[in-house]
Amino acid sequence: MNVNEIRRQFPILDQEVNGHPLVYLDSAATSQKPLSVIQTLDEYYRGYNSNVHRGVHTLGTRATDRYEGAREKVKKFINASSMQEVIFMRGTTTAINTIAQGYGREKVGKGDEIVITHMEHHSNIIPWQQLAKATGAELKYVPLQEDGTLSLDDVRETVTKNTKIVSIMMVSNVLGTMNPIKEITKIAHENGAIMVVDGAQAAPHMKVDVQDLDCDFFAFSGHKMGGPTGIGVLYGKKDILNKMEPIEFGGEMIDFVGLQESTWKELPWKFEGGTPIIAGAIGLGAAIDFLEEVGLDEIEKHEHHLAAYAMDKMSQIEDMTIYGPADPKERAGLVTFNLADVHPHDLATVLDAEGIAIRAGHHCAQPLMKWLNVSSTARASFYLYNTEEDIDKLVAGLVKTKEYFSDVF
């Protein structure tokens, strides 16, 4: 994998921020976009912008072909068994809300349980909180181990015969933990529950095979994997989706409309009410082509290497606290940390003055912050275009930040 060649495909990286070359270490929030994705969007709007699945004109046919072609790419990308199982949505948040409302309201009742973990992103907490409140179900949390991993024994302890839904992130956006989804899915199924996977931090970075995982739902966002914002995917097993009611009604998703009653299109369109996210889906298709050309295994290897390199260099800084699994092999390409008494915001401001972009705050994981016993943390996250040099600059910036604040204090 030639990182310099890859970097040339990301025009945004070639700029100065505050007088320094940009070092972009916030890809877990959103990734940068390769030229091919930008060009694909440009071609769509210049060349064949049109609504899909209606009308008979040429542009409409082109747009429909490309839109459905993107679905085919997603199907292969996650190894779904059919294109009917791939639904385009705004992102992971919308996908999980759709499951909670479309599946949850029907199948979950008083006395039932929904199981999540203490490391979840707000988008995989609040839809379930709302479902639990509306149905009288109980929302249960699998505790975390000291190092921020899950123990399968704890999962077995928490999931019971009353559990209807287990919903867990594949990779933690804060701890970098890679959860044993396949094993957890087995436990969920043994108890008669369905398995929902928040794949937002997994799909951009590693090969995902939904049939191998055997999960019932898998959700991810396009913008974290080189695609545009506003496009994401809900994968669901066909037999479950077939029995599930849509939560959005209107154009595009209907079959016959009468005055009092209507019927829905078949999968996947019955879940895509309204004019779909055409440009977004086509852009996501281009992002998938780009990632597959580089190779997901290569990308994962590169990020593991960067995480190991970063953890090694960063842990040499005095008063550095790194959260999550200590073994770089057990984690994805991000490092969440706190440096001495410097508040993460102050840290991020000083690094920004050096052209280094990191994330500071609670990372949409307030319950996890509580578990870590901190109000906020700083996070550097890596993607295929990052280099050891980026990390060297980060480390130099951190050392200087520490010096700067020790001077002021």
Binding site: P344, H345, A353, S375, Y404, F409
Partner: protein, 145 residues
């Protein structure tokens, strides 16, 4: 390498307020209690005001956050203590103008607060600086209604 431009943000007096916050704590029987947070970053302030006869007799705060938010809270309590409610609100308006980089009314002496002027050049940090002031405004509003 120097961080000269950062020095306009992290002025000595700000770091002093961060390190040695004034009016830290809570007024036992304060007439107004406000809890406010910045949901995007987790900064949190708990402000108590003793408002009597149109005068802010006492102001105390507690909370957690970055140097800018905590220093601003410390300075705010110092500034409004002993002031008439209208003056406190006027100060808040002046502070808001200062953060937006607008011309501001300099007929009221803001004391240490002027050290926060540099925040205007760091748009991402303006919300940190205004949190305590927003809490104060909300508190007075609730007290009056």
């Amino acid at each position: 390498m120097s961080f000269n431009n950062l020095d306009t943000l992290y002025r000595q007096v700000i770091m002093d307020h961060y390190k040695n916050p004034r009016n830290k704590g809570a007024i036992e029987d304060g007439s107004v209690t406000i809890e406010m947070n910045n949901p995007t970053c987790g900064d949190r302030i708990h402000l108590t005001l003793d408002v009597d006869n149109g005068i802010v007799k006492q102001a105390k705060f507690d909370g957690e956050g970055c140097s800018i938010s905590m220093a601003s809270a410390s300075m705010m309590t110092q500034a409004v203590k002993g002031q008439q409610v209208e003056t406190a609100l006027k100060m808040s308006g002046i502070f808001s103008d200062m953060m937006l980089g607008k011309e501001y009314d300099d007929s009221i002496d803001l004391g240490d607060i002027e050290a926060l002027q540099g925040v205007a050049k760091f748009p991402a940090r303006i919300k940190c600086a205004t949190l305590a002031w927003k809490a104060m405004e909300k508190g007075i509003d609730e007290n009056q209604s």
